[in-house]
Amino acid sequence: MNLAEYRRAARQWLQENVPSGDYPEAEAIPRAKEFMAKLYDAGYSGISWPKQWGGQGLTQAEERAFAEEARDFTLPTYVFSIGLGMTGPTIVDRGTDAQRARFIRPLLRGEEIWCQLFSEPGAGSDVAGLQTRAVRDGDHWIIDGQKVWTSVAQHADWGLLLARTDVEQPKHKGLTMFVVDMHHPGVTVRPLKDMSGRANFNEVFVDAVPIPDEHRIGEVNDGWSVAVTTLLHERLSISAGVGMSGQKENPAALGALRKEVDTSDPLVRDQLVELHIRSRALELFNERLAQETKAGVFPGARGSAAKLLLAELTQFQADLATRLVGPEATLAGHPLARAISMAPGMALGGGTNEIMRNIIGDRVLGLPPEPRVDKNVPFKDLKVGTQG
């Protein structure tokens, strides 16, 4: 089957199988699992993943072809996105064969849901400053700590958790990666409301949770290099999804906004032109990155510029839209009230604007690094988190 045929077949499958319409929230997870199993059985989950562990063993070309076709559909796979985009690839890359055999197929088939437990209240941009401890106890590790910003934790069966195993080492050198059973009674998941009042994230409290050593990923104290693998996959999956697809439904985007405002006012019109210019500039940049990727030139750190620009555009347009619409836009029911409440999220999730600028400066422009004060200090002697 050549690629065009593959693409056609995928499209046909999607047309026939993607569920349309909504169902009650309570049924969302079982329905999503049902769909995922069908997707897997049809050969469209883990397309480029190794055959040996449950993938299809095809190439990036098929993976991309399917993703492109799928763009026109709304697949109910959100709850699996962490597993598929980050924790799964990490286990494929860095797990033992036993771990791959145990975890990958159920993940691809949607039988088990995954979350990722890296960030902590005291370790956001600086993930390696985390304080969750893992202490060895025979053939187990005992974990204590608190994680935050954990998507889908409330549904998750497994979590990929980064913990500190040695405080005498500098901060990057005393970390180890584990797989934690989210159903263990010592794991407490609490919804975390964001500033718009919605609970899209969770806090996860881990209280004396034992983890068998065979659920350790990578070597002891080598967890940072495993985390880098995960974060690399995160970045790839974010920059793939970064696009502008959310723009279609965004009430602050030009398409929606122009219907809400008085375009007979030349000043309003010029503001909309400014919005058009910025939106098109980023849209075309994303398209160019996509074309380059297709041609085999991978954007790497340049994707951080697209992320930075998207964060700025999101903030700019929600701010502009509320100003153009005026007082009405601040009524809770108005779509723009939600847009302005959500806008900062894009600048804070997946790396702040400052972190993006550092990445662009260091890795794209090759500028000299900031002097680091935290590289060779034992973790226990280091300032971390929030302190006077």
Binding site: S119, P121, G122, G124, S125, D126, G129, V148, W149, K171, L192, K193, D194, M195, G197, D265, L267, V268, Q315, D319, T322, R323, L324, V325, G326, P327, E328, A329, T330, L331, A332, G333, A337, I340, S341, P344, G345, A347, L348, G349, T352, N353, E354, R357, N358, E370, R372, V373, D374, V377, L382, K383, V384, G385, T386, Q387, G388
Partner: protein
């Protein structure tokens, strides 16, 4: 032109600040209107009657003093009808009504205003008013109505007959609005709508609140930048943070200068007031939101959480920015005044 506070004004500021930091700190802002705090604000501090003329039992102070008070209530994100009542007191300065002014001065009456005209038959008012600021907490609404000799101002008891009001959920969870429906509600005629100065003074009052919001937001993120560590250093030591905070400080300095100027103009130089008021809304409204936004963003992830107070400043700043109309109106007014 006077842009610095007198000793008395500084004392007023210190008193209001001390009171609010004990009685209504930002951490209480999301609990909503606390009538007890208001009673003390009006009583102990006499803030409700600050700009009410002495003959009606007020302190007879000017916009300069009101601005000092509003800066502090803004910094505390004080919930409830303080700004609305200030708007009402400003409006009443053009149609001095003994009963209302005395009630406001005593702290007995919370009031609000609305700009849309209602129908008036000589005794009752009828109309539907959206987004009445603090409309659920206010006792009295001051609202214009058309009349044969030009528009007049009416006072309507909001708890009285013929009035139904329903709360509106808004972006700013620290201060509500209401939809008010008047269906033959008894209305008292206050007098003709004053020709000038009312809207301008409201602009200045709002700018003073905005100055307080931006100052408190900047203070909060500066304090956080001194205790939050990333990569082994306090985040305030990174130029990426420090330089942004410096720019925010520069905006604050300009905003304060404009608010002092506009309040001075309101009190001492009516000819300068229209330009000063439009300038105040055009500059301070924008600067306030920008500072509140950047203060939230610089907090990192924690600033995005519901539990943290950062979003309260961000949302108040955005609500205030458009409270007296889309910002371009103030800019258009400036263009007119400059005869551009």
């Amino acid at each position: 032109m006077k842009l610095v506070l007198s000793t008395e004004q500084q004392e007023l500021r210190a008193a209001v600040r001390a009171f609010l930091s004990a009685a209504s700190p930002v951490s209480k802002a999301r609990d909503g209107y606390d009538p007890q705090v208001y009673a003390r604000l009006g009583g102990e501090l006499g803030l409700s009657g600050l700009i009410v003329p002495e003959e009606y039992g007020g302190a007879g102070a000017g916009l300069t003093e009101l601005a000092v008070a509003l800066e502090e209530t803004g910094a505390a994100l004080l919930p409830g009808p303080f700004l609305a009542t200030a708007f009402a007191a400003i409006t009443l300065s053009g149609v001095p009504d003994k009963e209302l002014l005395a009630g406001i001065a005593e702290g007995r009456i919370a009031a609000t205003v609305h700009a849309s005209e209602v129908a008036y038959d000589g005794a009752t008012a009828t109309g539907r008013l959206g987004q009445v600021l603090s409309g659920m907490e206010a006792d009295v609404l001051i609202v214009p109505a058309g009349a044969d000799d030009g528009p007049v101002l009416l006072a309507v008891e909001l708890a009285g007959p013929g009035v139904s009001r329903s709360p509106l959920e808004t972006l700013d969870i620290t201060r509500g609005q209401a939809e008010v429906v008047l269906a033959g509600a008894p209305a008292r005629l206050l007098g003709p709508v004053p020709e000038t100065g009312v809207f301008e003074r409201m602009c200045v009052a709002l700018a003073a609140e905005q100055l307080g919001v931006m100052r408190a937001a900047l203070d909060a993120i500066v304090a956080y930048a001194k205790i939050r560590v990333a990569f082994g250093r306090y985040i305030g030591s990174y130029q990426g943070v420090k330089h942004k905070l410096a720019d925010m400080h520069a905006k604050l300095e300009q905003a304060e200068s404009i608010v002092r100027y506009a309040a001075w103009a309101a009190d001492e130089s009516p000819a300068d007031l229209p330009e000063a008021a439009a300038l105040a809304q055009a500059y301070v409204g924008r600067a306030c939101f920008e500072v509140a936004r950047d203060h939230l963003l610089l907090h990192g992830g924690i600033g995005y959480t519901w539990e943290h107070d950062a979003h309260l400043f961000y949302k108040r700043a955005k609500a205030d920015e458009v409270l007296l109309g889309p910002p371009r109106l103030h800019r258009a007014r400036l263009a007119e005044l400059l005869e551009l």
